[in-house]
Amino acid sequence: MDKVDGTEHYNFKQAADLATLQVIIIDTNPIAWQLLKQSSGLSFPDALSQILIFANAHLAFSQANRAAVIANHIDGAHFLSPVPPGSDTADPDEANMTPEQQKETSQRNASKYRVFRLFEDEVRASYRRLIKSTTAETVDAIPNGSALSGALGLALTYINRICFGGTGGRSSGVPGDEKSKVNSAGGKVDDTGRTMHAKILIVSVTPDPANQYISVMNGVFAAQKLTVPIDVCKLRESTVFLQQAADATGGVYMEPEHPKGLLQYLMMGFLPDHLARSSLILPTRVDVDFRAACFCHKKVLDIGFVCSICLSIFCEPPDGAVCSTCDTKLDVSMLENIGKPVVALPKKKKKKKVTDSLPESGVASAADSPAPTEG
């Protein structure tokens, strides 16, 4: 009887058929790329073209697949593609081009798959506009600038709109829909109401923005809830946050040793969609560093103190037992009690010694700092 029933068949097909939205977050910090170029020879234009090949490969998999590129710039996050509705899509140099140049460009583009060309032109033009509007002073003022949390937030809200927005109503006006003309979502919906799957790729060259720890982690947990894997390609400056982001969301974390072969890493590591991933061994990093950075001194901890209200992590009890994040007055008596000298027992040193393979955290010092010596 069951075999005659066709519902099972339909269900399976729906789940398998959903297209994928690939959101790529690229660090566009000029200094960081310059440093990478000096150390490994991979320049940003090279990397961008390789990332575009990767995006095209993703688009080529299915007509319904979509891609979005977000620039994590020094002073904020910007959509490179699709461009926000109403903004200028033309290349900043286009106005100055001679008719011959324009003709040449259009001829060269003539043989190219239209979807690829539109997407590439859009990304490139937006990037050039972004760079043109960036002054050297801004860059010098914040050389390590990164808007990771903002970019992640943009990516997630965009995913939420595209993948869960439904078919009618407001989602028809998603940013850039009429401008980018790249793709359109298929009309299918799976049982959770999502119309597309999504994944995020972060190509990162900047160090961890420690002051954004909370917002980045919130973004990670949101992605986890939406079952959106966050892949991380860390070309420079090893990171703790993004490792945990990839691990928590089931994404791939890679630190390429040979950044010039970026394309290879992208293609082999990050291309598979959610269906393929379930049956592949992913080249994600083997040993994930689960330790969290404390909020107060950015130290990576084994054992620490956690605010009972906002879950901020501290390597030692904060000043005056007031949580520095949420201003909650913590239970001082408990803190004072901890580590109070007990007969033949804890009054631990402030000095930190590395005694074994595990890095010593600040707990020992934390335990005794609020409690002056007894007697």
């Binding site: 390590n144 007990v342 027992l345 804890p346 631990k348």
Partner: protein, 621 residues
């Protein structure tokens, strides 16, 4: 529990015997003013026995046996009622009820879940809501040995761990349970729940033997039938003196009544029973029960209360068929629904109201339309999240200098920007690069397309090394995949025998247990727990030894395995040779590695605390 009072004499002194209003104690107060005496108070839960003269006797007496504390002597009190015999009877009944209530409450706590289902059903009919929902304190749970035994026997793994840690190790049972109060609580709650009633008629299957229908019926089943179908009890009460009991049941199981109750269709060919068929049209519902167990709905919002007067329904409309036996063939689905709701009525409701209906002031509040009210103020806990920037400014400043230097030596920021701008221009070889890369499969992704093969070979090299890195990660990950076939099947999927594996698991579990208690005590700051800490340190040291021993025995096992392998074919041996580094001692060490590190950290921390603490204590002393 209503209080009851009666005048009664104790040791030939007149007084008043009364039951306290809470039903917890029996109080006798002398009335004789001349001899002031303290009232005798007997807590009801200490009463072990109660004897009374039959109500017909002229001198009504009651004898109370009370055991004040466990294992002490039993005190006897004899009260002679001087008032009317009605008063005496009321008091006796009240006292008996109070004793019963307390006893059964205790019993319910003690009787394990495996007890008789029927009993539980009967018990649950009498309301004891407070007992079922009673929250037990942690201390109560920790001291409940019977409960702990039950928890242990329900989980073999826990029992094993308990055996290892408490029976053979040196942890006390209290310590063991102190971190598992949640398990005890869960089990206690689980035990306090009982299986509900079931559709008893459906479970009785008449057997056809030699054209005689045989039905086996237990006393419990009869009881449940009566409970679920009051009509059967009614018929039984009215018919049985006339009919013999077995005769009644025989006829019942053949009757139309039985079929109707079961929800089967009545057909004209059914045998006629002139006694039982009279009751076919009687309504099989127990209104008293319904009234008692219906959820308490205030009349102000009780829509069902007006059902009978509902003119839109059948209320006042004449029945079109004008036939009384309209519902003779009730569809089975409705029969089952009725029965199910009846079964649910037997279940003790959790949210039963204490007071009489329509007396609660909040009912008025509940019947208000909330969306017409003004918005209530939100009572959120506000988090004032502060910017952390001040913490990081210190870190960023030196970093900036570091960062800027290498860049500044070569280029100005503005140059970098303009380079970036021009290199991504459309007039560049941007697309060409991509096309060439895909056509030749020999990517030349550098700025200059036309320049030499050296660039492209360099690119090739980096692409190759990229592949190598990915493949190496992949192979490492594949090794970690569970259940891969790259381990000899003979010694189990983990790389060593089941025996070693079990030992490892057990050691891991116990060590985790010790670690947990160690840190708990270590950071408690409680001087009284010093002994416990020392004990845990010893246990942890022994855990280290145990791990070492397991690793050594794994090594021995490996050697034996290798000998066996050597006797086998060369091909197999060579395959084993590849793995040789990854089994035995090193493998065990690697598997348990994290925990060993954790134990080491704990011990080091303890030693360091000792070192720094000991001198200070000496000075203090």
């Amino acid at each position: 529990m209503s209080s009851a009072t009666a005048t009664a004499a104790y040791k030939k002194k007149d007084g008043i015997l009364s039951l306290a209003t809470d039903g917890k104690s029996l109080i006798w107060q002398a009335v004789l003013a001349t001899i002031p005496s303290a009232p005798i108070v007997i807590p009801v839960d200490t009463i072990t026995n109660l004897q009374a003269t039959p109500p017909t006797s002229t001198k009504v007496m009651i004898k109370v046996f009370a055991q004040s504390t466990p294992k002490s002597t039993i005190d006897q009190y004899v009260f002679t009622f001087t008032s009317s015999s009605e008063d005496a009877t009321t008091l006796k009944a009240a006292l008996t009820a109070a004793i019963q209530a307390i006893k059964s409450a205790n019993e319910q706590e003690l009787v394990p879940a495996g007890g008789d289902d029927k009993e539980n059903i009967n018990e649950s009919v009498t309301p004891k809501f407070s007992k079922i929902l009673k929250n037990r304190t942690d201390v109560e749970l920790k001291n409940d040995m019977a409960l702990q035994q039950a928890v242990l026997s329900s989980s073999p793994t826990l029992q094993k761990k308990f055996h290892e840690v408490v029976v053979e190790g040196n942890m006390t049972a209290t310590q063991f349970w102190s971190t598992r109060v949640h398990l005890l609580r869960a089990h206690a709650v689980e035990r306090s729940q009982s299986r509900g009633s079931y559709n008893v008629l459906a479970s009785i299957k008449p057997k056809n033997e030699d054209s005689v229908v045989r039905v086996s019926l237990s006393r419990d089943q009869i009881h449940t039938i009566f409970e679920q179908h009051p009509i059967v009890r009614k018929v039984y009460d009215e018919v049985v003196p006339k009919l013999r009991e077995d005769d009644f049941w025989r006829r019942f199981f053949l009757s139309k009544l039985y079929k109707k109750l079961k929800g089967e269709k009545l057909v004209p060919t059914d045998a006629h029973d002139d006694v039982l068929d009279q009751y076919l049209k009687t309504d099989d519902s127990d209104h008293t029960l319904e009234a008692e167990y219906r959820p308490r709905i205030p009349h102000t919002i009780d829509l069902g209360g007006n059902e009978d007067n509902h003119s839109q329904k059948q209320g006042n409309r004449p029945d079109l068929t004008m036939r009384p036996n309209k519902i003779e063939n009730v569809p089975i689905i409705r029969t089952l629904n009725n029965l199910s709701s009846k079964l649910l009525d037997f279940v003790t409701p959790v949210d039963v109201a204490d007071g009489p209906p329509n007396s609660r002031p909040q009912d008025i509040g509940n019947s208000k339309l909330r969306d017409l009210q003004a918005d209530t103020r939100e009572q959120n806990v506000l988090l004032h999240v502060k910017n952390h920037k001040q913490f990081f400014d210190l870190e960023i400043k030196p970093a900036r200098n570091q960062q800027l230097q290498p860049v500044a030596m070569n280029t100005q920021t503005s140059t970098i920007l303009s380079h970036l701008y021009h290199d991504t221009a459309s007039s560049n070889d941007f697309e060409t690069n991509i096309r060439v890369a895909s056509e030749d499969q020999k990517p030349r992704l550098s700025d200059n397309l036309y320049n030499s093969d050296t660039v492209s070979t360099e690119d090739m090299i980096s692409l190759r090394s990229a592949s190598t890195q990915i493949s190496s990660i992949l192979s490492t990950r594949r090794l970690q995949m569970p259940g891969r076939a790259n381990r000899p099947i003979r010694i189990g999927s983990h790389g060593f025998s089941q025996n070693i594996w079990d030992q490892l698991l057990l050691t891991h579990a116990t060590s985790t247990e010790f670690l947990r208690h160690f840190w708990d005590a270590f950071f408690s700051g409680d001087p009284r727990r010093t002994a416990e800490i020392r004990q845990m340190v010893n246990s942890l040291a022994r855990s280290q030894e145990r791990i070492e021993n397991i690793a050594l025995s794994a090594e021995e096992e490996k050697k034996i395995m290798q000998e066996i392998e050597q006797r086998e074919s060369d091909r197999k041996r060579s395959r084993f040779g590849n793995r040789a580094n990854d089994t035995g001692y090193p493998l065990v060490k690697r598997v348990i590695g994290p925990q060993e590190a954790a134990i080491k950290t704990a011990l080091t921390r303890y030693e360091r605390a000792l070192e720094t603490e000991a001198p200070k204590l000496l000075i203090q002393d």
